[in-house]
Each structure stands twice: as C-alpha cells, then as structure tokens.
Symmetry: C2
Subunit: 382 residues, 2 copies
C-alpha cells in the first residue's frame, strides 16, 4: 500500500471538513463571471479567447468555450499541452519563444490543435517556417506589437511589415493578424485613467493596422486586452478578439481598482485556511503563507472568518513560508487562544501565480464541495 | 498516445540543451554544502536535522542523512508523507496543526516513521493523545517556545509546564523536548547583530529549560536554528539539534548577508532561463517570471549570462507572470536583438518558495546533466 497524504476534500464535504490550506472556487460567482464576460463580448461583436494562464484548467476552458469562447490563450508552449491533449481545438500561444526544443513543441502541438503563436523577430519566423514545413503542419503567426507595455513586440511598423513579409515566404505559416497587449494598463486603479491607457493602446494598434492595410495586407485578427481593460477594448473598434483571464476569479488587486460601466468580476477564488496557533494578544497564526498564496501584488486584503459568531476582525499582516500572520482587532487580551481552529476565506492578492501553487481546485456551492478540478497545467512554464 | 510536453532535460544534456525555465542544482556546490554543514555540526557536538521544506526531495534527504543527519524536519504533515513513504526513519514536523484531518495524518505517519510534532496549546495535546492511543502509535511531542520570532510558541514557562504535564497524561505521547526557533534572526544582514539575536534566543531557550529542570523534567532535545544562525546556535551550549534548510542551496537573500566564522553556503541553486524577446534598446525579456521564481525576498540579484563572449551585463529588473524584464547595461543601441536566445543562470531571491514552483531539479556537474531529482513534496502544504 502506498503511503500518500489523504485528499483535501471529498464531494459533498462542508467548508468545515475541507483540508486546509485549499484553493476554493465558489461556483455561483465563477459561473456568473464566465457567463457575464461571454455575453458582454458577444454584445460588442468581438471574439472572446480567455487566457488559460489564469486557471490552467481544462474543465474551466471547456466551460468558457461552452459559453461562447472561440478557444483559449496559453502563455507558454508546455502550458498548451494539457489543453491540446483534451481536444481544445484552437489555442493561441500569446508569447514569443526561442530554441529548438520550443519549436519542436510548437510543431507537435500544431498537429493536434489549431495553433497560433506570437513572434517579434525575424529568426523566429524562419526557424518556425522550416520546422512546420518539415512536419507538414500549419501554424498561424501573429506578430506582437508594443502598444505601451514596453515588454515584447515590435515598436515600428516597418519592423512589423518585415515580419509579415517573412511569414509570407513560408507555405506552412499563415499571417494570422497581430497581438496588441498592454499588461500594465490592466491594473491602473482609476477607471478613467485605465480607459485612457486602453484608448492609447488601441490607437497605437490602429496605426499598425493602417500601415499594413496601406500595403494591401489584410489583418484578420487583432487580439489582446485583459480583465482590467476589456470594456474599453471591446468597444474600441480595433480589437477583434479579447484575452481576459483573471475575470473568472478576481483577486485582491482587481478587487481594489475602480470599476464602472462594466461590472467588477465577482470574487470566486479563495484560500481556505485555519488558525493553528494563537499564543499572544492581538496576533494569530494561520496555515497558509508563501507556499499557498502569491504576494507579488501584495498581501491578501480580505479575510472572512467562517461560522463563529463573535470572531474579531482579522487582517493578513505577514507571510512566512507556511505561516500567515494575522492581526486580531481589539487584541483579545489573553483570549486569542479561542481562535485556534477558526477557519477563514482569504482573497489572494494575485490570482494567476496563486493558482499555480495548487494541484486542484475545490469547487463549492452553498458551502458544500460540488466538484474537484485539476490544475492541469500547473508548473508548465516552458 | 498521450500528448504531454517533452521532458526538460535528458541525462548528459548540456546547459545549451536543457529546456527553460528549469530549476538547476550545481552538484559540486550542493555536495560541499551538505558535507560542510554535517561536519560543522558534528564538530560542535550537536545533531543535524535539516529542514526538508527547503528542498522537498527524498533524494536530497537521503544524502543529508548519509552525511550524518539524524532525520529531517517537515513544516506540514502532508509534506512529511513522501519522506515517510520513502523510509526516512525520523521526521519532526516543526509546526503546530489543528483539526481532525490533521490529527489523522499525524497518526498515520507515526505508524510509518518515528514522528515528532510541535504543540503550543493544551487542546492539541489532548486530541493527539487520544487519537494516538486509539491507533496504537507513539508520538514525540515538543512544545514550541517563542524565543523572539513572535509567531508560534508559548511565551511563559508556566504555559510550557502545563503542556509538559498534559503530555505526561497520555501514554501514547512522549515529551520529546522543546522547539526554539527564531526565523527573523536568520536574515539579519550584520553578522554581529545576527549573532546577538541568536544569543538572545538561546538565552531565552535556556530560561525555559531551567524552569523545566527546576521541576525535575528532563529535556532530551532543544531543536531549532536555521542557516543564518547555525554557527551561533551550534556553539550556544543550549541547542542539541539544529534545523537548517536553505544551506544546501543558498539564495539571493542569504547571498547578501554578512558571513564570517562559518562559511557562507555556496550558491548551488539556479534558474536556467533564455532571452526570448529584445526589441528595445536597453531592455531584454527572458522566459522566467513569477511562475518560475519567488519574489517575496526581492527580485533575483545575480544574472550570469552563459557562453557568449561579449554579452553586456544583465540585471533582472521586473517579473510578470511568465516574463522577466532585464536591464541591459550600455543599452546596445538597436542591437539588443542579438541577445535573443542568450541563456542565463539566475539566483532566485528566496530558495524555499522557488523550489516549490517546480516538479523536478535538473542536477548538473561540469555543465552537464548528471541526474533528475523529483521535488517530491511540491505543493504539499496541508
């Protein structure tokens, strides 16, 4: 008999019975987010291609596609494998890659799914074109343009034109359009300033598109956008396809920015945690730290105690590897010990890297476990 | 045929052939660290019980034990499972836990390994004592005392005495000694200030021990200490057993603090990464971000370019989910494109949570892959 740790939860378990720390999806909120985004993008006449880097889950991708999405984005080639293996028919790798091992992955994936990828330099096109031809596969190539992120993507339209020309020289490659993503704009707190940043990005994209059209190049797809700017991007008239990812979950960062015309995503992702030590006035210690929540966008901002009536207010104040330090409002002079065993729902600061720490989602509805979903692409960063 | 991403490396591969990003161990440095700590603690007459939360790897635990360690520490019960399953004969869970599922795990583990655990409240002792008796297992219990960390552990010797008395009431439990760990002291930059903090912690531990001895209680083990204070703790005369973890790897944080009498650990842990985009002067983008390195202790501080002769100096300046932003010294006006494909060894800021992002270590010696070791306890945080 193999000795392995017991599962965190069984179907039907209550919040009091789930092992902690665990990664929870509240299904009502999650489903509302999936449906809401699909309806909004459809009403604006733009395609929805959600970013699977947020959830890394085949079951979630299938729900997004059932709601109307045209496929998914992945950020890495290895991340795309579980989705291709599960029969997701259209995958866009929204990122550049280099190296023989990576090109071999792209070609293998293209034999199993309709694959598109990004490039921003000529050698990437050449190597991919040759490998795809040898393997007898077809790959859509979308040059990335820099619309304000100052990260990847060409910065001048003549560089874009050179890429388009290079793609045209390879029968196995097809120019699929362009990618225009401004990550930094997603998190601007002011709704108006975010809208202005999105507008500038769209305008920049529009200039690149015009340069291509002036050369007689048709641009079938302009893909980009994220959860924070989707309402602006959808109405920009320039994007044909949007890539929001975090909208299915929400997180502390997205929870703290200003929303207006488009509804704020409902928070559906939580860490369930338990207080396991409380020996000092004003301080309690819970069982989730750096190995169970990402702190790159700050510490968790919401801690909701479950079930006990007179629980003082708790604030997540510090993370060690496996400990979370909680400030206990009012101090509970010498009485914090009563908090031991207290369970809490914690909203992580940043959903994507938090999800990447867990092997499964514990999906709950009305405080009971309804499903367990694998984080299929966890750790697949190549 | 199942469609899965190809392995990151095969045995014998060179640094140019390993898929990126990957988690690398440089074996010469690693082995020197394993040997050095074993020899140092032995020379001081204290037991070495390395913390497996740093590496989560059975193969590394076995090497530590072969070098003289008495067993390992784990920080969570679920983390202990792969070590117990692999036959590691002595495991100390250096942390408190609460809940029926956790107690069941402790009892199951105790049937397979010599298990010790920490407590800092009376109900934990009672529940564990009953469950261990029912299961017919024996568990060593080490109350934790707070020696300056202000996290877990009792703060007063009368609370400690109450715990010792409670343990004595359960035939299935045995008082195993005390745990005295000051995490904050590990990272104090000044060697002298760190030594003073360690000395204060040892003095505090000594007061608790005296209180027990005054009551006629023998204290078989005083366990604690970490990589940053091990040289002070080993010579304190109060610790009988030390728990360093990070010493096998080193990291950006430990690399930046001052070391003196005891040798600084050699850096053995690296992220191998590739530049995959470089479209702007002064900036390049590599393929490892938040999902491949922990940033809680700051961004990586060392980036070493491989193989190319005239590579400009690179500095890791920002992390997105799957992108690392690099500052390129000198700017390389319009010439950064030549950096595409450049590989680098990156020292992560904090080793423990970085290791927890990967499923395997790619172990290299003389720039060739000699072994692939699983991160057996990755993600096991319950």
């Amino acid at each position: 008999m193999t000795l392995v740790a017991p599962p965190a939860a069984r179907l039907g378990a209550t919040l009091a019975e789930i092992g902690t720390p665990s990664l929870l999806i509240e299904l009502d909120a999650f489903e509302a987010n999936v449906r809401g985004m699909a309806e909004f993008t459809a009403s604006c006449g733009v395609a929805l291609r959600p970013h699977a880097k947020a959830h890394k889950s085949v079951k979630i991708a299938r729900r997004q596609i059932a709601a109307g999405a045209v496929g998914v984005c992945c950020q890495k080639l290895s991340e795309a494998y579980p989705f291709a293996a599960a029969g997701i028919e259209s995958i866009h790798v929204s990122n550049e890659f280099v190296g023989a091992d990576k090109v071999a992955m792209a070609v293998e994936l293209a034999a199993h799914t309709r694959l598109s990828v990004c490039v921003d330099s000529l050698p990437q096109v050449a190597v991919l074109g040759v490998a795809a031809a040898e393997a007898g596969v077809r790959i859509d190539v979308l040059p990335e343009i820099d619309v304000g992120q100052r990260r990847c993507g060409v910065t001048r339209s003549d560089d874009l034109l050179r890429l388009v020309d290079a793609i045209a020289q390879h029968a196995a490659l097809r120019f699929g359009g362009i990618q225009a993503y401004h990550g930094g704009a997603q998190h601007i707190a002011s709704w108006q300033a975010r809208g202005e940043a999105a507008k500038l990005a769209a305008q920049r994209a529009s200039e690149f598109v015009s340069a291509l059209r002036a050369r007689g190049v048709d641009v079938p797809v302009v893909t980009g956008g994220g959860t924070g700017t989707v309402e602006f991007d959808a109405r920009s008239g320039i994007y044909t396809e949007l890539q929001p990812g975090s909208y299915v979950f929400g997180d502390g960062d997205y929870g703290s920015i200003e929303w207006a015309a488009f509804d704020r995503p409902r928070q559906s992702l939580f860490i369930l945690s338990t207080i396991m030590s409380a020996t000092r006035p004003g301080i309690a210690v819970c069982d989730v730290g750096l190995k169970g929540l990402a702190v790159d966008s700050g510490l968790p901002r919401e801690v909701t105690a479950l079930s006990r009536v007179e629980t003082p207010e708790l604030a997540y104040a510090g993370a060690n590897d496996e400990h979370g330090m909680l400030d206990v409002a009012g101090g509970l002079e010498r009485g914090t010990e009563s908090l031991i065993g207290q369970r809490m729902l914690i909203v992580p600061g940043h959903c994507d890297p938090t999800v990447n720490l867990y092997d499964e989602f514990v999906c709950v509805r009305a405080a009971q476990v309804e499903a367990l979903w694998k984080v299929d692409a966890r750790g697949l960063s190549r």
